[in-house]
Structures are given as structure tokens and as C-alpha cells.
């Protein structure tokens, strides 16, 4: 198991493109190391020793209710607009399908990822940067422990879990709200609604959806944490590292979303 150290800045003066590529390579490399740690027994054991429950609860618990309420209100507005517009054009039979596609397949996972990044993983990346500045990484290494497994991996898993939980809960709430908006408090339209949902979630769409949510969660958990590890401690300001992480996260999220759209609709 490699004890990953923050990459020192090279003494030469490489061009911006090379710096950019080197930065991405470090992110990918650290991400792969964290992935190996997550999949290895020793890594999981060290993560458990450091405590998985606290980061998990801190990442998901505080924002769960707020995000669910916010997405419920946003979904209600969008659902109402779509249904009323579809009815005015005489296309109400397509309204629910459009709601499910737009909200559940596209908007809710994206919102969950961005919300999780802002409220869970960016603060956790800040914590990691703070711990690193205070020399706790070196202290762990002196004790013979891997700081990546002890400090970073629990937060990465917690960030991934937070995004998955937010997306799953909000999608379920949105599905319920869409049904209530279309059919009211009656079970009469359940079969037809279920059929519509089943038609939208074909095997390929379901596979792409699951893959997209997992990749979004991974990116949200991985990029901010790895970005703060990428720079030497104290070399850059905290705000600069967070901004850099945000930009990279935004690019990756955009790429995942684009790939999912291409997979679903082309």
C-alpha cells in the first residue's frame, strides 16, 4: 500500500497545459489509490478504526431534511408547470413521462450531487486540509498508519453515501409528488402511472441512471478531497484550493451528465 504524499511542485517551469494535465493525473492517481484502499480489507479496517459513522452522519444527516424539502418544492413547481402546459397543448398523456424523465432522471441526481458537494464534501475537504496543515498526516505516518485510509477514505465514503441517499430519497419523493399532482389522493391511477414509470425506466435507461448517480457521487466525494491533498500544505491558500476543486468538480459533473444524456437519448 502506498503512502501517498502530496506531490511536490517540480523545480522546472512546465507550461500551463502540462501543469493542468499533471494536476489531473495526480487527481486520478490519488483517486485510484483511494479506490484500492476502499476495496482492500486493510484499508477498510483502518477506516473503521478511525470511525465511519461520524463522517457518514455528519455528511448526510444535517442536510437530509432540508434538501428533501427543497427538492419537493422545486419538483412541485416543475411538475405543475409541465402538467398544465401539456394539458393546454392537449398532450397530457405525455406530461408524466416528461416529469419522470426531466426530474427523476436528470435534475434530481444533479441537484443531489451539487448539494452534496457544497454541504458535505467541500467542508470535509476543508477539514482534511486543516488536519494536514496541523501535521496530523505526519503524526499518523509516524504511528505507522496510513493517513489516506484513516482520514480521507471515511470522508470519501461518507460523501458518496450522502449523494446516493439524497438522490434516492429525492427521487422517491418526486415520484410520489408527481403521482399526487396528476391523480390526487386516489389509487385509481396507480397502474397507469406505474406503467409510465416502467416505460421510462427501460433496462438501458436504468443502467445509465444508476451508473450516473454512482459516478456523480464518486466525483463529488473524490475530487474536492483529492484536490486539497494535491497541493503541498501551506503552498496555496485555502480558498484557492476549494475554488480549484469546485472547478474540477464542475467539469467532471458536466462530463458525466453529458455522457448520460448521450447514452439515454442518442
Amino acid at each position: 500500500m502506498s503512502r501517498s504524499q502530496p506531490a511536490p511542485r517540480s523545480q522546472g517551469t512546465p507550461g500551463p497545459a502540462l501543469q493542468w494535465l499533471a494536476g489531473w493525473w495526480q487527481i486520478i492517481h490519488l483517486g485510484a489509490v483511494l479506490g484500492v484502499l476502499a476495496l482492500s480489507a486493510s484499508g477498510r479496517q483502518q477506516a473503521r478504526r478511525s470511525g465511519l459513522a461520524a463522517p457518514l452522519v455528519r455528511a448526510s444527516g444535517p442536510m437530509l431534511l432540508g434538501f428533501t424539502l427543497a427538492t419537493a418544492v422545486l419538483s412541485l413547481v416543475v411538475i405543475r408547470i409541465v402538467i398544465v402546459t401539456a394539458q393546454s397543448y392537449g398532450l397530457s398523456q405525455y406530461a408524466l413521462e416528461m416529469v419522470v424523465r426531466v426530474l427523476v432522471l436528470e435534475l434530481i441526481p444533479l441537484a443531489a450531487a451539487l448539494f452534496g458537494a457544497l454541504n458535505a464534501t467541500l467542508p470535509m475537504a476543508d477539514e482534511v486540509a486543516s488536519l494536514r496543515r496541523r501535521g496530523q498526516f505526519q503524526a499518523l505516518q509516524q504511528q505507522g498508519l496510513d493517513p489516506l485510509a484513516m482520514l480521507v477514505l471515511p470522508r470519501l465514503l461518507a460523501g458518496l453515501f450522502a449523494v446516493l441517499l439524497l438522490a434516492a430519497l429525492s427521487c422517491a419523493v418526486t415520484l410520489v409528488l408527481a403521482y399526487l399532482s396528476a391523480h390526487g389522493f386516489s389509487l385509481g391511477g396507480f397502474d397507469r402511472y406505474t406503467r409510465t414509470v416502467g416505460r421510462v425506466f427501460s433496462p438501458s435507461v436504468t443502467l445509465i441512471f444508476c451508473g450516473k448517480v454512482f459516478l456523480l457521487g464518486s466525483a463529488v466525494a473524490w475530487i474536492p478531497l483529492v484536490t486539497v491533498l494535491q497541493n503541498p500544505a501551506g503552498r496555496r491558500s485555502r480558498a484557492s484550493a476549494e475554488l480549484q476543486g469546485l472547478v474540477r468538480l464542475f467539469l467532471v459533473v458536466l462530463a458525466i451528465e453529458s455522457a448520460a444524456l448521450v447514452g439515454n437519448y442518442y
Binding site: A53, A54, L56, R58, L91, F161, L165
Partner: protein, 333 residues
């Protein structure tokens, strides 16, 4: 394995506030995510029809354009089947394989008709129609031809027809068209109606004919007046005739008396004829007797003729034996 708290000597969470009921909250969150994922998987499997037994229906179409895997087969607007697969048959036709749940399969009968309709707006629709619900159920793996209807295909034809219609209407409504001419004639006719000669002038065309018509009307009125007088005279005549015919001394009572006399006369004539019948019967008897006598006379005549032939034969014999008046003469040519 539940997560364990970090050892006290590790610096991991040294400056973070402790979370009350940490393990319970973490377990609750994990359980919530597990429930959501399991529920989503179960619901999607149910929505995709994974838990209900189905039977296969194969629809054969010339063109499967617009048909997608997962689209519904509807009956009376209700989805009763789902397209599972589309393939090309060896004959070059499209084979649409549809799974119909067993609970909905009773709507499909051997006489059911299947249509593939491509709308101008919206999806392509597969529809089933069953006219006779008493017919036998459609068997599993049944293969049916699907009737294709394409609203877009008929659109150019309809547009061409509408264009022709519009051209005809334009020609009709043109300034030199038939409609404009008719309207001008109608305007002229209306002007004539409003003129001094009115409708009569419009109908007759000129004033002379209209005057003739008025003269004819006057004469007709005079004729009708005379007819009235004539009718009055006829009434009087009818009264007199009634008195003459049906009065006490009229023609009819006398005729009735005459008829009575004629009846009596006819009775006398009938009696006379009866008597004549008797006379005729007697005459018939006499005639019968006479016919018998005539028969006897025939016999007598035959006998006389036989006697005469014998006398003739006798005379001839005497003449042959004794030639008293033989005129023997030899004539030379």
C-alpha cells in the same frame, strides 16, 4: 460489521463535536438507503412486469418505423401489452414481439384486429380491436398481421385535394367568375324588382308583354263575372229541372209507373214465352217423328232403287235377248 469509534489516541476527530446517538443515526441512514434502493428495485421490476405471467403475441408489419421496445399495445385506451422485441423476418417483414399479461389476454380473441397508427403529433400507437368477445381466445405465440395507418402518409394527398378545392373556389369567386356574374345578375334582378314594373317586369322582360298580361287578367276577370251569371242561371235551371223531374207531377213518378206497367207486361211476356216453350217442345216431338219417318223413307227409297235396278237389269236382259229398237249403225272415220 458496525463502524467502531476511533481509538482515543488517534487525532482524527479530536476537534470535531461529538454526535449524539451516532451509531443509531448511522444505522438509520444506512437502513433508509437500503430500503430506498430495495424499494426502487422492487417497484421498477413490478413496473416492468417482471412479476406477472405473460403470453407472447407476434405482430407482423410491413414497416416497423416508430415502434420502439417498451411501447404499449392498447385496447380501448388501456395498455394491455408491451413490445419486448422487434426483429426482421426471413420474408423481410418486421416481427413485433409483444408480451401480454395473462390477466389482460382475454381481451384478445381470434377475430381481433391490430393496427399500427403513426400520428402527426405524438408516438406511434399499437392498438387492438376486438369486435366479438365470444370468439375463442388468442393462443400463445399467435401471429397476426398488423394493419398500418399513417396520418402523415395521407397528408400530402389531403393537401393536394385542399389545394385543388381552393383553386376551384378562387376561380368561382374571381371578378370574372361564375359567382360574380350570378351576383351581378341578381343585382340587376333586384333593381328591376325595385323598379316601377316590379316582379311582373322582371318575369316578362318588357313592358308590352306585361301590358298584355294585365289585359289578359282584366278579360279573365270579366269572364269570371259572366261565369258567375251563368252559374246563377244554371242554378235556376237546376231548380226547375228538379221540379220537373222530381216533382209530384214530375218525370220520375211517371217513369216509375211506366216501369211498373212494363214489369207487368214483361210478366205477361214471360208467360207467353212459357207457352211458346211448350209449343216448341211439341214441335220438337213432331220433328223427331218426322226424322224417324224420313229414315223409313230412306229405306223405302233404297228398296225402290234396288227394285228399279232389278227392272233395269231385266229390261237390259230383254233388250239383249230381244233387240226391238236396236240402232245398229257402223260409222266409219
Amino acid at each position: 460489521m458496525p463502524p467502531t469509534d476511533p481509538p482515543p489516541d488517534t487525532p482524527v476527530a479530536a476537534d470535531l463535536p461529538a454526535v449524539p446517538h451516532l451509531q443509531a443515526k448511522a444505522s438509520g441512514l444506512l437502513l433508509l438507503l437500503a430500503l430506498l434502493v430495495a424499494g426502487a428495485i422492487g417497484y421498477l421490476l413490478y413496473a416492468r412486469g417482471a412479476f406477472e405471467p405473460t403470453q407472447r403475441l407476434v405482430l407482423v408489419a410491413d414497416d416497423a418505423e416508430g415502434v420502439t421496445v417498451g411501447m404499449d399495445l392498447t385496447f380501448s385506451g388501456f395498455p394491455i401489452g408491451r413490445v419486448q422485441h422487434i426483429e426482421l423476418s426471413p420474408e423481410g417483414n418486421a416481427r413485433i414481439l409483444i408480451d401480454v399479461p395473462k390477466k389482460d389476454a382475454h381481451w384478445l380473441r381470434t377475430s381481433s384486429i391490430f393496427t399500427l397508427v403513426r400520428g402527426v403529433v405524438g408516438n406511434t400507437n399499437l392498438r387492438a380491436y376486438t369486435g366479438q368477445l365470444q370468439d375463442p381466445l388468442l393462443a400463445d405465440n399467435a401471429e397476426r398481421k398488423v394493419l398500418a395507418g399513417d396520418a402523415m402518409a395521407e397528408l400530402p394527398q389531403m393537401v393536394a385535394a385542399v389545394r385543388e378545392l381552393v383553386q376551384r373556389a378562387s376561380a368561382l369567386a374571381a371578378p370574372d367568375g361564375a359567382l360574380a356574374g350570378s351576383l351581378a345578375n341578381l343585382q340587376a334582378a333586384t333593381d328591376q324588382l325595385k323598379g316601377p314594373r316590379g316582379a311582373l317586369g322582371l318575369v316578362m322582360g318588357n313592358e308590352a308583354d306585361a301590358k298584355k298580361l294585365l289585359t289578359t287578367l282584366d278579360r279573365t276577370n270579366a269572364l269570371l263575372a259572366r261565369a258567375d251569371a251563368l252559374t246563377a242561371s244554371l242554378d235556376k235551371l237546376a231548380g226547375k229541372t228538379d221540379a220537373q223531374v222530381f216533382g209530384a207531377q214530375g218525370l220520375l213518378p211517371e217513369t216509375r209507373a211506366t216501369v211498373l206497367q212494363l214489369n207487368a207486361l214483361l210478366g205477361d211476356a214471360r208467360a207467353t214465352l212459357t207457352r211458346v216453350d211448350g209449343v216448341l217442345a211439341e214441335a220438337q216431338g213432331i220433328a223427331s217423328n218426322t226424322r224417324a219417318a224420313t229414315t223409313d223413307l230412306g229405306t223405302l227409297r233404297a228398296e225402290v232403287e234396288a227394285s228399279l235396278r232389278k227392272v233395269q237389269q231385266l229390261v237390259d236382259e230383254v233388250n239383249r235377248k230381244w233387240p226391238f229398237a236396236r240402232d245398229a249403225e257402223v260409222k266409219l272415220p
